[in-house]
């Protein structure tokens, strides 16, 4: 740069530090934020650096500065420092995160040159991030609070089968993120998606939702106990429920489990009905039988009335919904997105329903794998909210459930979880470490941040403060399938519809009626 020519992009110069923290002096009049991405250029490439701390610097001794401040506060004084902007300044601590050459990019193994100028990152500096095959869209790259027009994609089937964790405090934009992820996934054919939706917020019953995607008609299947016209009733025939669906989800004693299997081995289809209608059973105490009946009444809404089975809930039946599980599993196997509205169900029933479908697809894929047919099938992702309910230490200590099994073994069979939680610390470390992609949104509680940082695929030990300060829609993406932890801004879901061309529905041509 010529002497006397001011480069407006420069934010500071490297003045000291080491590999774990490069210190630059910030140029006067420039504002740099925590988490911001900066660049320093070398002959053969450039470093990308990220701000992880900011502090004051001054050439004036501390006692003089304190005295000057005191004079200003306590007395009327026109006192000021000579060349104040030169003497007092801001120090920015940076972490080198990537070195980019024209041919490749990699983690830096050297320091940038001393006194190098550091500038704000521009979109062109990130063009090397290409859209992979079978992409999964996360949002746009964020530098501090500035959003760059660079879309972030990772290889979707890798990310999905190796499990994802979405963590955030309330109100930080988890639901919006899931909507954006799933909406964009509707453009692809490589993945089936099972969304257990306890708040009925993804389909878009009353506002914009996944149903408004141009591919929705072919890609989305929506099940609800209160279906909209054209959508499916969530109903299951009791005959399709198996004892292992209850494992780890409904709390059962050993005696109760034994009783269940006694009935199941005798009649594999009508075991629930038989238990509910049984007066007594050899080898089973009356108390066990009574407690089971009570539990089945709570979970399935079934009881005995005058020797006949009576259904309190519309979720279970003895002649409808015979094929629901098979159909849901088929849809997933065909790369569709299946949304299960569980908003009207109790917590335990919601998990039971989610578990039944999860078990269905896991078993199907394990079976296909053993026959060598899995290779060409779409991968399947299961989105589960408030994940510690099924993946929490306490829950898993009481007994394994299907979600725990998928977290440990699902990758082999192309089935992955997207676990959403505010409290990642409740999930055992080994499962958390198995979640190979984490989208970390604003998290105030330090123990939750620590759980995330300790299990992150990238070293984000310096990011704790950053994570605490993330605003709504801001996130940090860490993944085994990315070379760096990527700061993200997830666009508001509604903005998709502003950007998209209005979707014009084809005129429906129908037959089967004599039109006059």
């Amino acid at each position: 740069m010529d002497v006397g020519v001011v480069d407006l992009d420069i934010v500071g110069k490297i003045v000291s530090g080491n590999f774990s923290g490069i210190i630059i002096r910030q140029k006067t009049g420039v504002d740099v934020e925590l988490g911001e991405l900066l660049v320093t250029r070398e002959n053969n490439g450039y470093f990308i650096l990220q701000v992880f701390d900011i502090s004051y610097g001054s050439q004036i001794p501390e006692r003089i500065r304190s005295l000057a401040a005191g004079l200003k506060l306590e007395e009327v004084s026109n006192l000021s420092f000579l060349d104040s902007e030169l003497s007092n300044f801001i120090l920015i601590i940076l972490k080198p995160i990537l070195f980019v050459t024209p041919n490749r990019y990699h983690l830096p193994k050297k320091l940038p040159k001393f006194f190098s100028a550091v500038e704000r990152i521009k979109e062109d500096d990130l063009r090397f991030l290409e859209k992979p095959n079978r992409p999964l869209y996360f949002g746009k790259i964020r530098s501090g609070s500035r959003v760059l027009d660079i879309d972030v994609f990772l290889k979707g089937d890798d990310v999905i089968t190796h499990h994802m964790l979405i963590s955030a405090s309330t109100g930080k934009g988890k639901s919006n993120l899931v909507k954006v992820l799933t909406y964009n996934l509707l453009n692809e054919t490589y993945a089936g998606l099972l969304v257990i939706d306890p708040h009925d917020e993804y389909y878009g019953r009353t506002k914009k939702g996944l149903k408004d995607h141009p591919n929705a008609r072919n890609k989305i299947v929506y099940y609800s106990t209160n279906p909209l016209p054209g959508t499916n009733t969530l109903i299951l025939d009791l005959k399709t429920i198996k004892p292992w669906h209850l494992t780890g989800i409904v709390s059962l004693t050993e005696a109760q489990i034994e009783c269940i299997y006694l009935f199941y081995n005798r009649d594999k289809e009508n075991w629930i009905e038989n238990i509910v209608l049984a007066e007594r059973e050899d080898g089973v105490s009356v108390v066990t039988l009574d407690v089971l009946k009570r539990k089945f009444n709570n979970v399935f809404g079934v009881s005995s009335e005058d020797g006949h089975i009576s259904f309190r809930s519309s979720l279970f039946s003895n002649n409808s919904g015979v094929t629901t599980i098979k159909n849901v599993v088929d849809y997933l196997e065909n790369g569709k997105t299946v949304i299960i509205d569980t908003s009207k169900l109790g917590g335990e029933v919601e998990l039971l329903i989610g578990g039944i479908f999860a078990e269905g697809i896991f078993s199907r894929y394990r079976d296909l794998s053993s026959k060598g047919y899995l290779q060409n099938k779409p991968c399947v992702s299961i989105i589960i909210e408030e994940a510690p309910r099924v993946l929490g230490k306490e829950v898993l200590d009481k007994g394994a459930n299907i979600f725990g099994t998928i977290a440990r073994e699902g990758r082999k069979f192309r089935v992955g979880l997207v676990a959403i939680t505010q409290l990642p610390s409740l999930i055992p470390k080994e499962i958390l470490a198995n979640m190979n992609t984490k989208i970390i949104m604003g998290t105030e509680m330090s123990n939750e941040r620590n759980a995330l940082i300790e299990s992150s695929p990238q070293d984000i030990s310096e990011e704790s403060r950053n994570i605490a300060s993330l605003d709504i829609g801001e996130a940090l993406l860490t993944s085994t399938f990315s070379k760096l932890a990527i700061p993200l801004k997830i666009p508001p879901f509604e903005d998709i519809f502003k950007a998209d061309k209005p979707y014009v529905k084809d005129k429906t041509v129908f037959r089967g009626v004599d039109l006059e």
């Binding site: 909209l228 016209p229 499916n232 409808s320 919904g321 015979v322 429906t508 006059e516």
Partner: protein, 413 residues
């Protein structure tokens, strides 16, 4: 009733039994003094049945006309015609039945007009079934609210599988969710599913599939469930339904276990089982299973049929799907392309094919020969030229490989 499929069977006897079953159902309806009859699709097996079938159906429907019992119908996936040329229209013009599928399209919505039964004042609406569940498009634009707010007692006729109500064995069948149907009708008369079933799902009460009136294929015959229809009584808001099972000819299933037997012993095995049954006037289904010695083609089925006919069987159907011969074993194959699958089968069995003095390797020979035989008829090629061409190419190929030594030169085309 539904899924009568008049004219449906290839065998004269079964086709005749199908018609007789229909006649019997009509006779029962007349005896029971019904107000009207509903047929929820597939009265006929095609939109253009044979003259004989039409004549018999017309005769029976005319009896109902004389008795002033109206018949309300919709088309089903078999007797629907995309061009509108279905025999049901002819029968309607002749006053033998009434189709309840009239409607109009207003502002993109389908408004069903329906028909009011004069005697009972019950309103009947319906949407026909179309092959491949194409009727779903009509349901997606159906103005349900308009139908729901219509006052009076309403019946809805449909010929579609419903996602939530499908039986297990039909889980892959194209279907639609029940939420596409208008709510609040007192009866939903269904067709298309050949198994009977009565359902209640939320605001959809009395969703009833009577199933086929007479079995329509060998699996339905094998299920031995027979067929039938519902007699429904609706008085003062109380609905009672009674299933009437009709069996014109009993179906007798004879299960023959051939495990370890030689093909020459099959007749004897059949006799042993047949002799302990009264087969008079019945449809007999021979269901074979087990691994046998020898080839399936060595079994003299003609002789077996004759034996059973002499014992009074009206018709004999056989199910040989579960016979395994030692000659050809079941193979497990992970190949997906047709060509690869064929090649694998040839490779596995090549040792069983003995071709004397063949000039080329067996697998290659079989594949090439199969290719010659599988050539399809070209556009514009006459049938005769096509068969002569294939024969000529085959003979040339076989003679090139020294496999035609005994062929008389004159037999060449």
């Amino acid at each position: 009733m539904a899924d009568i499929h008049l004219g449906g069977w290839r065998e004269d006897t079964l086709r005749e039994i199908g018609i007789k079953t229909f006649e019997k159902a009509i006779d029962i309806s007349i005896q029971e003094n019904v107000d009207f009859i509903l047929i929820s699709g597939d009265l006929f097996d095609s939109s253009n049945p044979t003259i004989d079938v039409m004549a018999k159906a017309a005769k029976k429907l005319y009896e109902l006309k004389i008795k002033e019992i109206p018949v309300y119908v919709i088309e089903g996936s078999h007797d629907f015609s995309p061009t509108g040329r279905t025999i049901l229209k002819v029968f309607q013009e002749a006053g033998l039945l009434k189709r309840v599928t009239s409607g109009e399209q207003t502002e993109g919505k389908l408004i069903l007009k329906g028909v009011i039964d004069e005697k009972t004042k019950i309103k009947l609406y319906g949407i026909s079934g179309i092959r491949g569940s194409l009727e779903k498009a009509a349901y997606t634009v159906l103005d349900r609210e308009d139908l729901e707010k219509q006052e009076g007692q309403k019946i809805f006729l449909f010929h579609s599988a419903i996602e939530e109500l499908k039986p297990n064995n039909l889980y892959q069948m194209e279907s639609m969710p029940i939420s596409l149907f208008p709510k609040g009708f007192f009866y939903y008369a269904g067709g298309h599913i050949h198994e009977k079933g009565e359902f209640e799902l939320g605001e959809y009460k009395n969703v009833v599939f009577p199933g086929a009136l007479f079995p329509n294929n060998i699996d339905e015959l094998l299920s031995s469930k027979g067929g039938g229809f519902y007699l429904v009584d609706y008085t003062n808001g109380i609905l009672n339904k009674r299933y009437i099972s009709i069996k014109v000819a009993p179906v007798i299933l004879l299960e023959i276990n051939l495990e370890g037997a030689h093909t020459i012993n099959v007749e004897e095995k059949v006799r042993q089982v047949a002799d302990i049954n009264d087969l008079k006037g019945s449809i007999v289904i021979l269901k074979f299973k087990g691994k046998i010695e020898g080839s399936l083609s060595d079994i003299n089925f003609k002789k077996i049929n004759l034996y059973l006919e002499n014992k009074g069987a009206l018709l004999i159907k056989r199910d040989t799907r579960e016979i395994k011969t030692k000659e050809f074993k079941e193979i497990k194959n992970s190949s997906f392309t047709k060509e690869k699958l064929e090649e694998d089968v040839i490779v596995r069995h090549k040792d069983q094919i003995k071709i004397k003095d063949c000039q080329i390797e067996t697998v290659s020979f079989v594949k090439t020969f199969m290719n010659i035989l599988s050539r399809e008829k070209k556009e514009g090629e006459k049938k005769d030229d096509y068969s002569k061409g294939i024969l000529s190419e085959s003979i040339d190929y076989l003679s090139k490989n020294n496999l035609l030594e005994d062929l008389d030169e004159t037999s060449r085309p």
